[in-house]
Amino acid sequence: MFQLKIIVCIKQVPATSSVEIDPTTGVLKREGVESKMNPYDLYALETALRLKEKTEGSITTVTMGPPQAQSVIEESFILGADQGYLFSDRKFAGSDVLATAYTLSQGIGLLGEFDLIVCGKQTTDGDTAQVGPELAEFLGIPHVTWVREITEVTADKIVVKQDLGNSYAILELPYPSLLTVEKDIFQPRLPSYRRKLLTAGQQVKVFTFSDFIDHNEQKYGLNGSATQVERIFPPLTKQDQTCWEEPAPVVAEKIYELIKDRNFI
């Protein structure tokens, strides 16, 4: 039996969908807002847990964030992760996807050898879906996004099914490599109270800027961000309603014509 060494990237996000943005910095306001693990990351962690069960491997979770982000690592212990790291420093504040991916790559670089990194598809607060692929680029490892299914896992490769919308691609990756997984790849388990008792007090290891190898401050936080948020707003939604009160066959015909006109079919 081979043992897969897996790293899972997770992020703490606001627990509600109504988040406030600082109008001057364009950064999420996190103070006083309940937080939770990014729901998409639960699928990444569940994927890792299934692989761990299959291969008797181990799982390390990592996150970048303020000190309170430690709680998502603790939650990962309850769900079954073996160890976890928080990359936290004031210098990391205000990171966009590029700076986040770079920070993660620096932190992961300190963890020694690994076989696989699993990320969620995207986050519910940023929604960019870019951190996973950018992290793979910084680490110089292959990656596949939109993974819907793990079809095979052996000592020297992992075969995955990539969801391309209208079609699938079956792809084979060597180790080390990175996957971002789709929602519903597996049903995420719920945290267990027994494990909560067992893992209470398990230490979350913290890396700060000074622990990293690259000390070029221009690559971290707001300084290292290639993008700046000007404004965040929910997209406009439109609710046009048409009511047809005619015999069912007539209405059915009309519905068919409408969805055909709009190119839904």
Binding site: E34, P191, Y193
Partner: protein, 466 residues
Amino acid sequence: MPYKKITTDDLEFLKKITAPDRIYTGREINDDFTHDEMTEYGKFSPEVVVEALTNHEISSLMRYAYEHNIPVTPRGSGTGLCGGAVALYGGILLSVAKMNKILEIDEDNLTVTVEPGVLLMELAKAVAEKELFYPPDPGEKTATIGGNVMTNAGGMRAVKYGVTRDYVRGMEVVLPDGEMLAIGGKVAKNSSGYSVKDLFIGSEGTLGIVTKLVLKLLPLPKKTISLLAPFPTLNDCIDTVPVLFKSKLIPTAVEFMEKEVIAAAEEYLGKAFPDKSADSYLLLTFDGNATAEVEKASDRAAGVLLQAGAIDVLIADTEERLETIWTARGAFLEAIKSSTSQMDECDVVAPLNRVGEYIKYVKQLEAQEQIRIESFGHAGDGNIHIYLCKDALSDEDWQVKRDTIMQALYEKAVAFGGQVSGEHGIGHAKRAYLAESIGNRGMELNKAIKKAFDPKLILNPGKVCY
């Protein structure tokens, strides 16, 4: 009962007081209007369906029906489970489904004023937008609030918050003779004479037609945590409920469910349930305004559950996690329905400390009668939903077994100090069981009340006690 049949003159009158496009007769009447959720209790065609929009329309209609001795059956969404909103004697089926406006959310008095056709899910959503909370939470979210009040619907949160009755402050009704009456109001207390309001609640549309409701609201709890506790056997699961209450915990909900029902819900929804390791589950919810307080309560409950023999306790503390469990729970009835050819249901309520014994009795009946019986329900308030499934039984066998088992189930509930219906009502399907359980004097009192409101027995005849 010799009721007058509908004539063209009657139809002309109905068109005049409402509108021609809100009157349906003959083939225009949708089949849905001939039954509720339980088609097993028969189909009954009204002679005319009228969709009302105002209390004045209803008042004119009732005055006319009263004078001419025409039976009137009021109806909301038709999601009832005992044939309460079907026109047993033909006549007029009066739909209030289009009276569906939320008239006012009063943040000073913490009340909401609604028309009876507002759907439960719309009400919950509208008040939640103002961080307010209408606690009653029956599984059927597409039911109308009028129907909920008329059956005194209960739901999942009854353990902590009570039932629909506890949230009705006032109402406007049209009496069978067409007179309009306002009862109660926005007041929180009321000791002014007999509580006529409480007679209307749970009266299943037999005493009057509700045209407006004033409901009490609470501040919306900010944090909710559910605990899903797997148990090796159903007995272990049910026997834990009294232990929970002895520990002085105050959960919002305590539900029990078995793996067969969960599997049916998974299939029905096409969605996986987060755990499949056990035979039976208890599902608890805690809510409140302070996260730390809710977490403390749920942790204490988790400890009690483990000590009582739970295999583990799984924690649902986010919107997504709560949804995976509660969506399944909400689909149980429909899932069982779609898993069999026909079913019959029983909604008894027993004292909390007899629930375990009662469920064991149901299991015994299932084995003895060789029929599939699924059950789930509100273990925390003693209200159990039991479903007899016909599956491959012949019509004859089904009839015999169903009658024997139903009789036995109701007898046992009464013997345990329980009641015929916890929240679904009596309708026409459970009248005989009600009569048996409350006895002659009880039925006489019920009939006297009915007659005081409706001496000509034209409003929803054939239901509850007449």
